[in-house]
């Protein structure tokens, strides 16, 4: 699961609430702030858990911004393929606006 990402490079940029709209196993990414050892508060302020067991991905320290790309386990849990630190300064609100546009009006520019 998720391996097709490495061939297509396609993943859905989502926020927390959109995770409820995708199927289990879908490849997605969310951006948020680290809220605990396996917890991220997403750009729309929803808590998402990372299934880190068996993963070689490491979480940045709390307070850092992070992008989690992985497969959906359930509407509030992602198994990460790649965790990327976005540093200590990042405009989450602006990113969330982008996610809304990329999933709605301008979907054709981003998704198949």
């Amino acid at each position: 699961m998720g391996s097709e990402f490495f061939e297509t490079g396609a993943a859905a940029r989502l926020n927390g609430k959109m995770l409820t709209t995708v199927d289990k196993g879908a490849t997605v990414s969310v951006v948020g702030q680290v809220a605990g050892p396996d917890l991220v508060r997403t750009s729309d302020d929803v808590e998402v858990r990372l299934a880190l067991s068996g993963s070689s991905e490491a979480m940045p320290q709390p307070g850092y911004y992070v992008e989690v790309l992985g497969t959906v386990q359930n509407s509030s849990c992602i198994k990460p393929l790649r965790v990327t630190s976005f540093g200590e300064q990042f405009d989450l609100k602006n990113y969330d606006g982008l996610v809304e546009l990329a999933n709605d009006k301008y979907r054709r520019l981003f998704m198949a």
Partner: protein, 259 residues
């Protein structure tokens, strides 16, 4: 003036042709990888949103790097697609030490910004990079995609064939008023603006919606990836072109697009 009457350059294109060529190809277009891969190819010309593109910018994450004597080949994804980007060792004017230092920072899993020429070869679209560098402030990624949306919206809304199928969507509480479609179908083909001018104009359109518009220093502060001198030059150019106008004093400007 020195003139060589011996000839030898007879087939040189006229100045006018050169000018035209330059104008047609000069705009740097921000794209998602999906848009680049889906470019329509006709003869040697690549079309995105029915408009010719040549120089483009993409931002994405390096999935793999192949290194040879003469070039680096990066496989870059931006979550909309995966693209092959070739960076020749003689690309650009950088000395090789600078290039080597920078390349060391661009391993797998690094976010990078690439400017280059889009090419089509045997039905495959690839990018030949003039410049590739790591993204240090990740807000640049957000900005790149917003700019991509903005430019695409402007391009498609100014083409007469596009139907205005964009009904206002009350459910999307998107804070980016300037990116709304259908606001200005009249005169907004921004194809001749430089990337910096577009970024500056976009900033005014998105954030300078009050009566006073924005103070230039706030724009310089917000667009910290662009030098203050370049922001000022862009504001001057945009004012001369009629995209911006000054409001309460010479330091405040507002986009002619924003209400």
């Amino acid at each position: 003036m020195m003139q060589d009457s011996g000839g030898g350059f007879v087939s040189q294109p006229s100045q006018e042709q050169q000018q035209q060529e330059k104008r047609r190809n000069s705009a740097l277009v921000p794209l998602t990888i999906k848009m680049a891969l889906n470019a329509q190819v006709s003869d040697d010309i690549l079309l995105v949103d029915d408009r010719e593109v040549s120089q483009v910018r993409i931002c994405g994450n390096i999935m793999r790097v192949d290194q040879t004597e003469t070039k680096y080949v990066y496989f870059i994804e931006d979550q909309t697609g995966l693209m092959e980007v070739t960076h020749w060792n003689n690309a650009g004017d950088e000395d090789l030490n600078t290039l080597r230092d920078r390349r060391e920072k661009m391993a797998q899993r690094t976010y990078v910004a690439v400017v280059g020429q889009l090419k089509s070869y045997e039905a495959r679209v690839t990018l030949s990079a003039y410049d590739i560098r790591p993204i240090e402030d990740m807000n640049e990624l957000t900005h790149h995609f917003l700019e991509t949306i903005y430019v695409s919206a402007k391009t498609t809304s100014s083409s007469p064939s596009s139907s205005s199928s964009y009904a206002p969507n009350a459910q999307t509480g998107v804070p980016m008023d300037g990116a709304r479609e259908g606001d200005n179908n009249n005169n907004n083909n921004n194809g001749s603006l430089t990337s910096i001018q577009l970024q500056v104009l976009e900033h005014y359109s998105l954030h300078g919606t009050g009566d006073e518009g924005l103070h230039i220093e706030s724009v310089i502060y917000a667009l910290n990836t662009i030098s203050p001198a370049d922001v000022k030059a862009a504001v001057d150019a945009l004012t001369n072109e009629g995209h911006l106008y000054s409001t309460v004093d010479d330091d405040h400007h507002k986009s002619t697009d924003s209400e």
